[in-house]
Symmetry: C2
Subunit: 291 residues, 2 copies
C-alpha cells in the first residue's frame, strides 16, 4: 500500500511524527504541510519533516490521496469546511484527536452526514511536549491507535488508515465506536490530566510555593508530568468530550469525598484496604500499559 | 566521623539502603538489623545488608552508637518504648518517617519530653517499591533529607545525623521545624498519593476495567506510579499527618470543584488559563525537582 501525496494539516508533535514515520518507511510520498502559522511550517520544512507547505487548506489537500488532521479538536470543524470541495476523488481523511464523538459531529455539521472517506482515529501516544521540534518517527512504535469508523465509513478507507498506522508507524490498531472510546479515554486520560493540572494549580496558589516545589521529589515529578501538556489542546479536549469527562469527574469527586472521610475518621483499616486494592489493581494491570 | 555499631530497626527499602550506604562508605561499623519478621531479617542478612539480626529491640540497640528507625510511623511509639533503658550512653537515634510531628509526640509520650538524642529525619527519596530487596546504596545520592530537631535536641546529635546523610549517603540536608515539614509534605507528597490511590481505586470499580487499563498509556502509568506504594506505610502516614493532609485535601477538593464548574460551563478561556498557569508553574519549578 503506497501513498503519492500526504497532506498533514497541523504539523505538531503528532502530525510531524507521522510525517517522519512516512519518510523513514521510504514511502516515497510527497509530504505537504499545512497550518495557521507560517513560522512553524517553515521550521517543519527546515527540519525535513515536510517537502513543501502552505497555509491554504484547499491548496494543501489538492491532489493528496491521504489527509491527516493534526490540529487541536477545536479547529477540526473549520478545517473540514476549508477542505470541502477541494479533496481529490478517492482521498482518505483521518484525524488524531483525543475525543472522537465531536469529530463525527463536526463532519455531520459540515457535510450533512459523516462522509465515507473520513476515518476518525486516535493514537494513544504523545507526551507532555508539543511542537514539530519534539516529533519523532518512533513515537508510535508499539503504541495503540484507536479507529472509530461510523456506520457508513468505507471499509477500504479504514483498511488504508489501518495500514498507515500499522505498516508505516509500527502501531497496533483497535476499532471501537466513538462513544465508547470517549468514555474510556475520559477515565484513563482526560480525568488524570484534570487531576494533575488541578494539583499544580492548587499548589501554585499555596503560600510558600517555592519551598513546596523545592521539597518535591521524583513521585511528584512523575505525577505532574502530564500537567506540562499543551493548554490549548487540553482546553479543546475538555470541551469536545465534556459529557464523558464530567461523568468521570463526578465519580472521582464522590470517591475522593469518601477517601477524605476515611482520613477524617482516622479509619486505619478502611484506608489500608483502599490503598491495598489500588496497589493490587495497578500492579495486576501494569503489564497492559508498561510499554 | 565514624560509627562503631549501627542498629537499623525496620530493614526495608529505606533502612536497608542506608545500611548499604554505610557499607559502601567503608565505615567499618557493625550493622545490626532488627524488626518483627525473622524471615525478612534473614533475607537482609543473606543479601549482606546487615551483619547480624535479632527481633529483640533492646538486644539490638545494646552498644549501638547510632540507631535508625526504619519502621512505619504506626510502629514508632512501641519501638521507642522497647528501646527505652537499653540505649548506650551517647547513642543517637534518628528515624526516616514521612511525617515528623507525630514522632515528636510519640517521643514525648514515651519519655515525658523529647530526648536530646532523638533527631527526627525524613529522606525525600524512595519509590513505589518496598522491602530490603529493593534497597540500594545509591538511593539517597543527591536527594534531600529534612531534619526536624526539637527545642532541646542536642546540636552534636544533629551534627552526627547530618554527617550520616551527607557524608555517608551523599544526600543534602535541610533543617526545619516539624509542623512546617508536615504541611509542606502534605502538599507535595501525601496529597498526590491520595489522588493517585483514589484514581486507581475509582477505575478499579469502573465497569469494563480490563479495557480501561488496556487503553491506558505512558501518562497514566507515570501518574499512577505512586499508587503502587506500600499500603501500610501510607495508612500510617495518613493517620500520622491527618490534620495537614485534611487541610490539603479540602483545599484540593474545592479547587477541583471549580475546575469541574469550568468544564460544566464549557468555559474555554477559563480552562485554558488554568491549564496554562499549571503548565507554566510546573515548567518553571521543574529544575528544582528534576533530580
Amino acid at each position: 500500500m503506497s501513498w503519492q501525496r500526504v497532506t498533514v494539516i497541523g504539523v505538531g508533535l503528532i502530525g510531524g511524527s507521522l510525517a517522519l514515520a512516512l519518510r523513514r518507511a521510504g514511502s516515497g510520498a510527497e509530504i505537504v504541510g499545512c497550518g495557521r502559522s507560517a513560522a512553524s511550517l517553515r521550521r517543519a520544512a527546515g527540519l525535513g519533516v515536510v517537502d513543501r507547505w502552505t497555509t491554504d487548506v484547499a491548496e494543501a489537500v489538492s491532489g493528496a490521496d491521504l489527509v491527516v488532521l493534526g490540529v487541536p479538536l477545536g479547529a477540526v470543524r473549520e478545517t473540514l469546511e476549508s477542505l470541502r470541495g477541494a479533496l481529490a476523488p478517492g482521498a482518505v481523511v483521518t484525524d488524531v484527536g483525543s475525543a472522537k464523538g465531536c469529530v463525527l459531529a463536526d463532519a455531520e455539521a459540515v457535510f450533512g452526514a459523516v462522509p465515507p472517506w473520513l476515518v476518525p482515529g486516535h493514537p494513544i501516544a504523545g507526551n507532555e511536549r508539543s511542537g514539530v521540534e519534539a516529533a519523532s518517527a518512533e513515537l508510535f512504535r508499539d503504541r495503540r491507535v484507536i479507529l472509530t469508523p461510523a456506520e457508513h465509513t468505507a471499509p477500504q478507507a479504514v483498511a488504508r488508515v489501518r495500514a498507515l498506522w500499522e505498516e508505516v508507524a509500527g502501531a497496533q490498531v483497535l476499532c471501537t465506536d466513538a462513544a465508547h472510546h470517549d468514555q474510556v479515554l475520559a477515565a484513563t486520560s482526560h480525568l488524570p490530566h484534570m487531576l494533575a493540572f488541578g494539583l499544580v494549580d492548587t499548589l501554585a496558589r499555596w503560600e510558600g510555593v517555592e519551598e513546596i516545589f523545592a521539597y518535591a521529589a521524583g513521585g511528584f515529578r512523575d505525577f505532574t508530568r502530564i500537567a506540562s501538556s499543551d493548554p490549548v489542546m487540553w482546553r479543546d479536549i475538555c470541551l469536545a468530550n465534556r459529557e464523558a469527562l464530567l461523568a468521570a469527574l463526578h465519580r472521582y469527586r464522590a470517591d475522593l469525598e469518601d477517601l477524605t472521610a476515611l482520613v477524617e475518621a482516622g479509619d486505619a483499616s478502611g484506608l489500608e484496604l483502599l490503598f491495598r486494592n489500588a496497589k493490587e489493581t495497578r500492579d495486576r494491570y501494569l503489564p497492559l500499559f508498561e510499554r
